[in-house]
Amino acid sequence: MTTEELTALSVDKSVDARGTSCPGPLLAAKKAIGQIEKGQIMEVLSADEGTRRDIPKWCGKKGFEYLGTVEESGFFKIFLRK
């Protein structure tokens, strides 16, 4: 998805993990994914560079759809569909 498409998404769950270091954002995503239904969209906010690689890999292993990442000032917004 393009940055424009990602930023236009209607997000069902937002997880702000900017205050944590690896593996905090990944664990925050793991906890939050249980709170949404299959097909719903979640965004993970992380200031951790490693997380932008971890989340797509984690999605692949868990069967979620990684939609893309938008780089903001000092953090990333990582989008996925359960």
Partner: protein, 134 residues
């Protein structure tokens, strides 16, 4: 995953906690065997006050300050979080316990599940795809 945890130093225990977090995110089953020096760190009276580091010891203060700056959970908290999120069993080696005068499970922090012998480690390592020594 099987983890042979030998180190009793916070730098290596913190690394183990990060790896455990990764395992927890993937719902991986983890068996941890607490060996020799790690048993020291797992004793109730030592867990929270032990601040020894194994590597780059001349920069210990900088390392510990950075952990705090980065909101890194104490290794005991990282282990606890992993236990809450996936199947993690922590076994204290009976010999290691005795080295540090810990004869009973109650001598160790609540994270510990039981006291065992090396045979259980061998069985677990044989069955695991990932086997680490830290």
């Amino acid at each position: 995953m099987t983890l042979a945890l030998f180190s009793g130093s916070v730098d290596k225990l913190t690394a183990a906690g990060v790896i455990l977090g990764g395992a927890a995110a993937e719902d991986m089953d983890v068996e941890i065997f607490v060996l020799l020096q790690a048993a020291f760190a797992f004793k109730k009276e030592n867990a929270m006050v032990n601040d020894r580091v194994a590597e780059i010891t001349d920069k210990k203060d900088e390392f510990l300050a950075s952990l705090e700056r980065l909101n890194t959970p104490h290794w005991t908290q990282a282990f606890k979080t992993a236990k809450e999120m996936t199947n993690v069993k922590i076994h204290i080696c009976g010999f290691a316990g005795k080295v540090w005068h810990g004869e009973k499970l109650d001598d160790f922090i609540d994270l510990a599940d039981d006291i065992c012998g090396i045979g259980e480690y061998m069985a677990s390592a044989e069955e695991s795809d990932i086997n680490l020594f830290i």
